[in-house]
Amino acid sequence: MRSILHNASLRSFRVWQRDLDVYLTNWRTEFLPPLSEPVLYVFAFGFGLGSLIHNVHYQGRELSYLRFMAPGIVAVAIMFWSYFETTYSSFVRMYYQRTFDAILATPLLVEDVILGELLWGATKAVIASNIMLCMLALLGLVTWPSALWVIPLSGIAGVLFSALGLVVTSVTRNISSFNLPMFLMIMPMFMFSGTFFPVSILPKWALAIAWCLPLTHVSHLVRAAVLGWPRGPLLAASVLYVVLLAAVLSALALKLMKRRLIQ
């Protein structure tokens, strides 16, 4: 771990700051999706699909489908915003814009650039998912103050999915190749991680797989926070899993991206 991080420095903040500046320059287009997405989801799935569905049984309690689903879309947002940032967006900066090359001509080292990108991906997830949370709160679907846990949760989970994105980017040769992990990894995770239905209704073998997926743990945790059920079972285990996976994937992302960038 030390050897992987030994060149990283606080200068990675400059890379993070660069990405933030771009984000703020384009704030109109950047803020629109997280503001509008929850409304669309709530109407389509909550009111539309939800009206066909009876209440959901979740962890021994009964709640409306809308209340069940709302935290799921926050969890999904954390994954999508960070993963997309460090796959497509980082790839564009690295490959098409040669932004990393430009930065590497300054006192920053490769490790700073990778770490900056990683943290920025996570930051974007924090911003977007918490905007969504506020929108859901306006629709009366959020329990305070336990929902504040979503802020640190989105940070850790953001690092996890950012790192996952960078690992994918490090082995991707051209931008269309991102479709493969998208359909094999991200889309299944999006659908089967307890986001739109409780994983408990899955057959046993699928349930085991579902609990290996990081998003299952993230949505489990976000749901506990948003519903205000902080004593749900296995929360500590999920936190541990997410933190560990975030650390392992970050180390892997640094190692692989370094190999990719230094030839």
Partner: protein, 304 residues
């Protein structure tokens, strides 16, 4: 020679089987302007990228003002300014913001950066474009902005990788004027180029590379005189008789496609001689240039 700004010893870069740079050693004196010439694939850019800490050398050492590129990359990069071959301006920001953000990477205080950025935009004649998006700049403007960006940290050593490739003559001269200005200022400059005119105009010394090795180095004009002499006779639409006549003269004769090149050992009377014997022969007598040296050393075969 003044104290060396750049020292490279047996610098080597291998990619598997391919040896891109094969143990080159050279020095660049402080305040000197040195040009690296060579065909594509000669190893110029790889050498430059090792000096600017982009690529770790496979073997050998390099240092800039006494700082080893491998051990102290951050300090080396603080001392140098780099103009890369390709345009890597940040398309997400406008002209001025490009410089401001770049200055932050050096950890310079924002007020200092702003002041320098405005001065440098003036220097490269882009002041009226400071709010323009990068996409709106012409190729020449982009190169000038990249030059300004490379100067933001007030580098002691400036590394220019093909600074004028693909530019029109006006844009090229604009860059040259500025590089000469920097040279007058005492900045050490290492540049790579395909343009012999550029090397002649700017460089105190040129280094010719091919196949990952240094073939030759020297002051441009002295090098021309030493390697090919002062004059060249080019002839075309010539017959066997003319060819025979030329063969008998002292000098180097080269036939390339439909053209004959003759590099006489002593050039003073050859024009008179040709005028007497072959007054009708289509020919051109001109001063030898660095391009003649270059082609002599690296051959005329196409490189990819």
């Amino acid at each position: 020679m003044k104290p060396a700004a750049i020292i490279a010893r047996e610098l080597t870069k291998r990619y598997g089987e391919l040896e891109a740079v094969r143990g080159v050693s050279f020095e660049v004196g402080s305040g000197e302007v040195v040009g690296f010439l060579g065909p594509n694939g000669a190893g110029k850019t790889t050498t430059v990228r090792m000096l600017s800490c982009f690529l770790p050398p496979t073997a050998g050492t390099a240092s800039i003002h006494g700082l080893a590129v491998r051990k102290r990359p951050r300090d080396v990069k603080r001392l140098i300014g780099v103009c890369p071959q390709e345009d890597n301006l940040d398309p997400d920001f406008n002209v001025l913001k490009n410089l401001l953000v770049y200055g932050r990477y050096f950890g310079l205080p924002s007020r200092t950066v702003r002041g320098r950025a405005l001065e440098l935009l003036e220097f490269v004649a882009l002041s009226d474009k400071s709010r323009a998006p990068i996409q709106a700049l012409s190729g020449g403007m982009k190169r000038r902005l990249i030059l300004a960006r490379a100067l933001l940290n007030e580098p002691r050593v400036l590394i220019l990788d093909e600074p004028t490739t693909g530019l029109d003559p006006q844009a090229r001269h604009a860059i040259w004027t500025r590089v000469r200005g920097l040279r007058a200022h005492g900045t050490t400059v290492l540049l790579t180029t395909h343009c012999m005119e550029e090397a002649t105009q700017l460089c105190d010394r040129v280094v010719v590379m091919d196949d990952g090795q240094i073939l030759l180095e020297g002051a441009p004009l002295a090098l021309v005189e030493r390697e090919v002499g002062r004059t060249v006779v080019e002839a075309w639409n010539y017959g066997e008789e003319f060819m025979e006549f030329m063969r008998a003269l002292k000098g180097r004769l080269e036939e390339v496609g439909d053209r004959l090149y003759f590099y006489p050992q002593e050039g003073d009377h050859i024009e008179r001689l040709l005028e007497e014997r072959f007054p009708q022969q289509e020919r051109l007598m001109r001063r030898a240039t660095l391009e003649d040296v270059f082609l002599k050393l690296t051959g005329r075969a196409l490189r990819d």
